[in-house]
């Protein structure tokens, strides 16, 4: 499938260019479309160039964890649909889809983007569970950043359905989600000695190491995930974090 050689890719990067003519630290065109699925409490479609992800948010009444009786919670899942990439297979979630979901989860959870205490209905008994489901539509690379961005866009516009203590009325709503921060994720890839963002499929195939960094609007980092086979130096990691902070700031303007 891959008809680009690593040598060619490296020589391009050396001259400061990418396969599709972008600069090394340049994202593809970002498009966000809201409310793409009306039965969800919130939903968004994000396109990074030709990559496309849809995220929907549903709310359910559940029981709190015993150690956090007054806090609601989030549950993030990701489906790498065989629909979106000829190499994806049907079946239970594999490690790639679990990592995708968990890294989105941690960005939201650790930044305390949602005020979990405000999602409590009856302490020790009933809380709101926020279910964030990620579906890939077309995989042309960088699903991680697309998913995190779509999750944030969907959360920002999600409504809390009406609850009378017995039954949830999904056709009526009682307010917005208690969203206090807007973490976004940027995955910086290292290929040879070069750092790039928002890779296309051909570039992803040659990544030596990657670092996903979830950044809050104040510039603080709230979650990270290193991937790829090669190790990073401390200087590499610092540089990658710097790039991620700059890029998530730019991305946040699209929300």
């Amino acid at each position: 499938m891959n008809n680009v050689s690593k040598e060619y890719l490296l020589s391009l990067l050396q001259s400061g260019r990418r396969l599709d003519g972008r600069k090394l630290n340049e994202y593809r065109d970002i498009k966000i479309e809201l409310n793409v699925s009306k039965n969800a409490e919130g939903s968004a479609r994000v396109k990074l160039g030709n990559s496309e992800v849809i995220v929907g948010v549903k709310l359910e009444v559940g029981t709190p964890f015993p150690d956090m009786p007054d806090e609601g919670s989030i549950i993030v899942t990701a489906e790498l649909l065989p629909f979106s990439n000829p190499e994806f297979e049907s079946g239970p979630p594999n490690s790639q889809s679990i990592e995708l979901a968990r890294v989105v989860d941690r960005g939201i959870r650790e930044s305390k983007a949602l005020d979990f205490k405000k999602l409590c209905i009856v302490e020790g008994e009933k809380v709101w569970l926020v279910l964030i489901d990620i579906y890939t539509i077309n995989d042309e690379g960088n699903l991680q950043d697309a998913a995190a961005l779509a999750a944030m866009a969907a959360l920002m516009h999600a409504k809390i359905p009406k609850y009378d203590g017995n039954k949830v009325d999904y056709h009526e709503h009682s307010g917005n989600l208690p969203l206090t921060r807007k973490p976004l994720e940027c995955t910086v890839m290292k290929i040879g000695e070069h750092f790039i963002v928002d890779p296309v499929k051909e570039e992803e195939a040659f990544v030596d190491a990657r670092l996903t960094v979830a950044v809050i609007e104040d510039g603080n980092v709230c979650a990270m995930q290193k991937g790829g086979e090669k190790a990073l130096s401390i200087e590499d990691a610092e540089k990658m974090i710097e790039i991620a902070i700059e890029k998530t700031n730019e991305m946040r303007k699209k929300l």
Partner: protein
């Protein structure tokens, strides 16, 4: 007599179709009817693995129908269910009758149907999208397949029931049908409810007329895509 607020009893909801919505797929399409949105992607014909599943006489078709967890009011757990497995099977049969798989020995054609938003009639919308996606993938077909749900709401024979009508308190019968409009043959027929022989006859007639309308939209959408492509060259 049961009456509809905003459309006639023999009038389907507003429809919209698109092809080529998923770049990585060999063929793809979207079919929207009212608030129901189905997307379909086709991959193949491609080699079938594991190898023992290959048939040297003819290729196989695999259809997978799936609803997004948030496509309905009460979230459904991601992944296959008994319902989705059954719909995958009947959709597969609905599409098989228009294909000539002898042309593709040892191969598989994968069709993935995803429901983004549901307001009844999802299997029919899925089949409409899937048959357009197969055509978009350049797979030789005897005809397109058009599908619509007909049935009875209260005492009225209707076409294209929405969710509210499916749950109608005075009783509701849902009869999804799929057809190859050119020869008028039925490739999917299911029913849940209660109807007399005469009612079924009327409903089938209504279904055929509506399938013909859907067929025109499907053909027009496919033609528009390829006409534009030729002009651009």
């Amino acid at each position: 007599m049961y009456k509809r607020k905003s459309r006639k009893l023999d009038e389907p909801r507003e429809m919209e179709a698109k092809v080529g919505i998923i770049k990585r797929a060999d063929g793809s399409a979207m079919f929207k009817i009212g608030n129901t949105i189905a997307m379909a992607a086709v991959y193949g014909p491609r080699n079938l693995y594991p190898k023992f599943m290959q048939n040297p006489e003819k290729g196989i078709l695999r259809v997978n129908y799936n609803m997004f967890s948030f496509s309905v009011s009460e979230r459904i757990r991601p992944g296959p269910s008994r319902r989705s497995k059954e719909i995958s099977l009947v959709s597969e049969n609905a599409l098989l009758s228009c294909l000539n798989l002898e042309e593709f020995p040892n191969s598989v054609i994968d069709v993935y149907i995803e429901i983004l938003q549901a307001d009844a009639g999802t299997r029919c919308a899925g089949i409409c999208a899937a048959s357009m996606a197969l055509a978009d993938a350049g797979i030789p077909m005897r005809d397109l397949v058009s599908a619509i749900s007909v049935g009875k709401v209260g005492d009225a024979i209707v076409v294209d029931l929405d969710k509210e009508e499916e749950d109608y308190e005075g009783g509701s019968t849902d009869m999804p049908i799929a057809m190859m409009p050119r020869n008028g043959k039925i490739s999917l027929l299911q029913m849940d409810g209660n109807m007399s022989k005469e009612d079924i006859k009327k409903a089938l007639e209504l279904g055929r007329n509506t399938c013909n309308k859907i067929y025109e939209l499907q053909k027009r959408t496919l033609k528009e895509k390829y006409m534009v492509e030729v002009e651009n060259e």
